[in-house]
């Protein structure tokens, strides 16, 4: 049972289509950057954990082909897949593998190349006896849950649009982010095409090609390899029932995220998350979800999320900057998205976030979201 820290991260430039590389080469690009950031070589890596939504690219056992790109040759390689939470689940799995004492250094890499699949291919294989009878898609399903959230909490399209604007403005300072929209405004979000009421195009995440890698080291190695490692303080997973109709007002209650955060805060000793957490990288596939997650994460009381965004509390210069990277709203290679959350949170703690660094960030939160309501919560800190 060892303490574990992130000692390096690496990501590709996320974009609409990376025709210049295969999936394996894409993964190698992120891996190589993470190795350089950690100041180690692939020979120092003891084990590899991979994350990818294989049906988006129509692959079976993609680690067979792509594992080489993560330097997996004759190394222990394991692929973790839990839907949208795959990336954070892989980060939690890699953390457990490193903390077990079996491996000193563990590499986690997530990737997706949406450009190689037809639209919505991954959504084609839902439950054939139930979900596959209706064309709702991820956008439609979110819109349904948002109607409940809006009805109960009274958040406005303007408040949601502010989340979208914040994300894209932050992304403009992140060289790896997919959407770079410095000139975005609330008006432009609200004027963008309606996808499904009340979700406008610019309220929604893009589909990206990209990869992201995180390198963990165990307690005896981390301080020697990294001047300011990002120590894993808590890693909690909660899954929920399989059908959207099982979930009671999912965005309103979001019981998985609420409970995972409660347990993670307890482990770390956080009692006032808004005050104590310095920066958060949360998995928000749609603007409205970020507002719902504020409540579930205890950043504010129920019904106060709109005020949080109105008052700029979660802006870069606010009390708790949320998604300095631009978040999933700016970059979404699904299998990598959860890894990006952890990488970005670690970069903040390590002081390596460049132009989107939150000054003196010491305690960072990362979350994963997947399926209809699965959640992961990870907390990193300087000590």
């Amino acid at each position: 049972m060892k303490r574990v820290a992130v000692i390096g991260t690496g990501q590709t430039k996320h974009t609409k289509a990376r025709d210049d590389v295969t999936q394996s080469e894409l993964v190698r690009e992120a891996t190589t950057r993470a190795l350089a950031d950690a100041g180690i070589t692939i020979h120092d890596v003891d084990a590899v954990v991979l994350s990818n939504m294989e049906l988006f690219e129509g692959r079976a056992l993609p680690e067979m082909w792509v594992g080489e790109g993560a330097g997996g040759y004759r190394k222990p390689v394991m692929k973790i897949a839990t839907g949208g939470t795959s990336g954070t689940s892989a980060c939690i799995a890699g953390y457990h593998q490193c903390a077990s004492g079996l491996f000193d250094i563990v590499l986690v890499v997530g990737w997706e190349k949406h450009s190689e699949g037809a639209t919505q291919t991954g959504m084609a294989l839902t439950d054939p006896l139930w979900d596959r009878n209706v064309a709702s898609g991820a956008v439609g399903n979110f819109a349904l849950s948002i109607s409940q959230y809006v009805a109960e909490r009274g958040v406005t399209p303007q408040q949601a649009a502010k989340v979208a604007v914040k994300a894209r403005r932050n992304a403009a300072r992140n060289p790896y982010a997919h959407l770079q929209m410095d000139g975005i405004t609330v008006e432009k979000v609200l004027e963008s095409r309606m996808l499904a009421d009340p979700i406008h195009l610019l309220d929604m995440c893009p589909q990206s090609d990209g990869a992201c890698a995180v390198i963990y080291a165990a307690e005896d190695r981390a301080p020697k390899l990294c001047p300011r490692p990002a120590w894993v303080r808590a890693a909690v997973t909660r899954h929920d029932q399989p059908y959207i109709g099982d979930l009671d007002r999912r965005l309103v209650t979001m019981r998985t995220l609420r409970d995972a955060a409660r347990e993670a805060y307890q482990q770390v000793g956080i009692t006032e998350p808004l005050k104590e957490i310095d920066v958060a990288e949360i998995y928000e596939p749609v603007s409205y979800a970020e507002l719902a997650w504020y409540e579930a994460l205890g950043f504010c009381a129920e019904g106060e999320a709109g005020r949080l965004i109105d008052d700029g509390i979660t802006e870069m210069n606010g009390e708790l900057p949320v998604n300095p990277s631009g978040g999933v709203l700016s970059t979404n290679p699904v299998g990598a998205s959860g890894v990006i959350r952890v990488a970005e949170a670690a970069m903040q703690v390590m002081g390596r976030a460049g132009d989107h660094q939150v000054p003196d960030a010491r305690l960072a939160l990362a979350t994963g979201y997947g399926v209809y309501a699965w959640s992961d919560v990870i907390i990193l800190s300087t000590g």
């Binding site: 210049d20 040759y73 190689e116």
Partner: protein, 146 residues
């Protein structure tokens, strides 16, 4: 829906995989020049065929591009049962791993125009008439004339 206790459902989906710079260059050479190229790993010195951008063993960028011979030796063979769609009978007879002369790895491909191929057989590439930048721009490998 039926009474057999199961429901049948399927997919018909298209995927378009990026070949990337290295594999594109390899496939373009097949298409435009009917030539087979490998890349040499600067660490282990092996010539990898088909050409790769990096050596999976050494995890370093490959450097030098090396043209290998279109002829080589069969190192594994399996007879084909269901032929590829559109394939005429009797042309492609099996799958093989072929060590091309000048390469340190083998290429997986078809064997054609052969009666009873065996490991050790010398073969040479037969290029397709119409080529599109695809691994099947080599139609198959056939036994060399002795």
């Amino acid at each position: 829906m039926n009474n057999n206790g199961f429901v049948t459902a399927g997919v018909n989906l298209s995927f378009n995989y990026a070949a990337g710079e290295a594999a594109s260059r390899f496939l373009i050479a097949l298409r435009d020049e009917k030539k087979i190229w490998g890349t040499r790993c600067p660490a282990c010195q092996r010539v990898l065929v088909p050409a790769r951008s990096f050596c999976p063993r050494c995890f370093v960028d490959t450097g030098e591009w090396v043209e290998v011979e279109p002829a080589g030796t069969v190192s594994a063979f399996a007879p084909l049962s269901p032929l590829l769609p559109g394939e005429g009978p009797g042309v492609r007879v099996g799958l093989a791993l072929i060590h091309l002369d000048g390469a340190d790895t083998a290429l997986a491909h078809f064997i054609g125009e052969a009666d009873a191929p065996q490991i050790g057989l010398r073969v040479v590439a037969v290029f397709a008439e119409s080529r599109s930048g695809h691994i099947l721009d080599i139609a198959y490998f056939k036994p060399t004339e002795t």
